[in-house]
Symmetry: C2
Subunit: 393 residues, 2 copies
């Protein structure tokens, strides 16, 4: 199968390209290098060094004995995405070309607008380009479990049967996103569902949990096959960040009581799930939603898990709670359903525990990089911030 990965230089894109190529697919990639720029903007860097894209591509070609077609391109420019689809002619597109950070979107108004417009534009462009080029292309779009928020009822996979005044309908499950970024993902989901109706496209919308991991099991000997591992407050997801704190002996910083419960999966499982979605594609005219995760933990339990794996490696780390910069419930019901991928054959291959252990091994040589990053671990972006009632110019 020919698969285009948009955002191939990102956290998921790079390992996914390797995984799919290993499974015999032909992978092409596009990226504009924004993830690198954003992490730099917030004053941080990847804990694991990330080589230039050209070196990644050279490593890829050497290992897989074929080059990966690659476009350095901004998908907010419609001409770019049209050109790519026209020349590569993919069977499927995995769309990862979005800004993935809630705190980044909450920095201020400019960042809120940037994230929403960026994500809305790349997704809409991609939909129009698919409709124009080849409506048979299967679009796999990365959403997030965060789109659902934390309702007081179980979370179904995308849709729910609602009975009201004696009548019934199956409707989209109401979303309750918790940041401008998360809302941008909700808008992307609606755009895709609408475009599928409009033009008889085919799409899989993946509500993914928080991914944990630094690389696939393959190629552990060559760091160029690692993915980036961010630990700053904006792009460092919680478990990856805890691992970076653990490796330099800093306390793991839990926001608030840590009772916030989230869904998680290992990087190895994430790419497996995306592979399943690709290999069992949505039908023409079908918009389907997968809740993609393996395990559910509270943040405080996850901190304890990292603490315990670190202890096995002789790393003694404390857990410290800091004031919660976010607007979120710290005690709540959380029971998302995740049956669709299991029915298609998903069987987890790597536990979160194992993934944490691998990350800590990968980080062992990079403690100094983490220590010397200009921006530390502590949150500075407050959900309530950026606006005070007094400072109108």
């Amino acid at each position: 199968m020919k698969v285009l990965i948009t955002g191939v230089d990102g956290y998921l894109g790079w390992p996914l390209a390797q995984y799919l190529t290993n499974r015999g697919h032909t992978v092409g990639g596009a990226d504009n290098g924004y993830r690198r720029a954003w992490v730099q903007e917030v004053g941080s860097c990847s804990a694991i060094p990330v080589c230039e894209m050209k070196d990644r591509l050279a490593a890829f070609e050497k290992r897989f004995c074929r080059p990966m077609p690659y476009w350095h391109a901004d998908l907010r420019d419609f001409g770019n995405i049209l050109d790519i689809l026209h020349s590569f002619r993919p069977d499927a597109v995995v769309h990862l070309a979005e800004c993935p950070s809630a705190p980044f979107s909450m920095i201020d108004r400019e960042h809120a607008l940037f994230v929403q417009i960026n994500n809305l534009t790349t997704t809409l462009n991609l939909l129009y380009a698919i409709a124009k080029c080849d409506r048979g292309i299967h679009l796999i779009k990365l959403g997030t479990m965060g789109e659902y928020g934390t309702p007081n009822i179980d979370i179904p996979e995308g849709f729910i049967d609602i009975e009201f005044h004696g009548r019934q309908d199956r409707l989209s499950f109401p979303r309750q996103a918790g940041s401008w970024y998360h809302w941008s993902k909700v808008y992307g989901s609606y755009s895709i569902a609408f475009a599928v109706k409009l033009w008889d496209l085919r799409a899989t919308d993946v509500m993914q949990g928080i991914v944990v991991g630094s690389r696939l099991s393959e190629n552990r000997s060559d760091e160029r096959f690692c993915t980036r591992l961010d630990f700053d407050e904006a792009f460092g997801t919680v478990v990856n960040r805890f691992c970076c704190q653990a490796i330099i002996g800093e306390p793991l910083t839990v926001y608030g009581s840590g009772g916030q419960t989230r869904s998680f999966l290992s990087l190895a499982d994430s790419v497996q799930c995306l592979g399943i979605a690709l290999e069992s594609p949505a039908k023409i005219g079908e918009y389907r939603v997968f809740n993609q995760f393996r395990e559910v933990y509270s943040i405080i339990d996850m901190a304890r898990k990292v603490q315990s794996v670190a202890a096995q490696k002789g790393l003694k780390v404390d857990i410290k709670t800091v004031s919660n910069p976010r607007l979120e419930q710290e005690q709540h019901h959380y029971n998302p359903i995740h049956e669709n991928l299991r029915k298609l054959g998903f069987r987890p291959v790597r536990s979160i525990n194992d993934e944490i252990s691998f990350i800590l091994d990968d980080l062992a040589n990079h403690a100094n990089r983490i220590r010397s990053a200009p921006k530390g671990f502590y949150p500075t972006v407050s959900w309530k911030g950026d606006t005070t009632a007094t400072d109108v110019k």
Copy 2:
């Protein structure tokens, strides 16, 4: 009360400014003149002549014995909205500064993006500006009943109690918009609900039906107090368009079978409802939703209604069905609830029938304007259009 109307030069903004001033409020307005430009872009004009904004303002000042503070300003520029809030210091903002056309958003990709980004940006800027200047400002935002689509269950006012797996929560009622424009209004609703949570703002989100009318009952002698009345396929809403067809003896063009059912209200009732929302404001921290309409009709029934009112005036008109350019159900359940405004005192003052009669009177002198508009009544924007599988360059 000091009320800022953003989009004061538009279809609703201009009569609303008069209505609120009549009720003793101090009204300020902002507009960038886009509605005029859009209608010109699609090759049409208002059936009732619209004088320049400066002449509108002069007429306003003469009649109400005070000037209306007015800013010719684009609200996509944050500085503009900050300056306006800072200098006018309103108690409430009625936000009408959005592109209001479904067909306009469906012309092509550029228009889809323009409408979504325009509407998202003005709304987000306004929210940030209110949070920054004065969180007590009551935001009244014009949404549309079209956000809900046509689910197979009754439509509540914004929220629904959902029971699932033995637990219950009250969640946002799932939206099923039918155009990129309608989705932009859904995104606006979510942005406002989120901002209210974030910053303890106060907001009323108005899901309005299709408005019918050309002016308030006051000032029928001076056409400068009329509002614009568009009849092109993009900005001409269905009943106003039917009236323009009737006045020149053209058949009323019904899309498809005409079984599509929608909610309607007169212009006089629309401004009354907005006045009620203003005068009984949302509480601090409250995001409330009103379904704002009076009557429910199918499009074919509405065509017959216009035909019958026209007949009473000696105008004989036919009804003609044309191929439906939209993607919508033509037979469906439709029963939206509308109790919130009634509970606050809304009592309809003008029926749709009366409003149609007034419009036909107002149009009597303008048949030639309608006849000579370069763009006719027939739909040319197809929901399925703009993309064909063959024409990749």
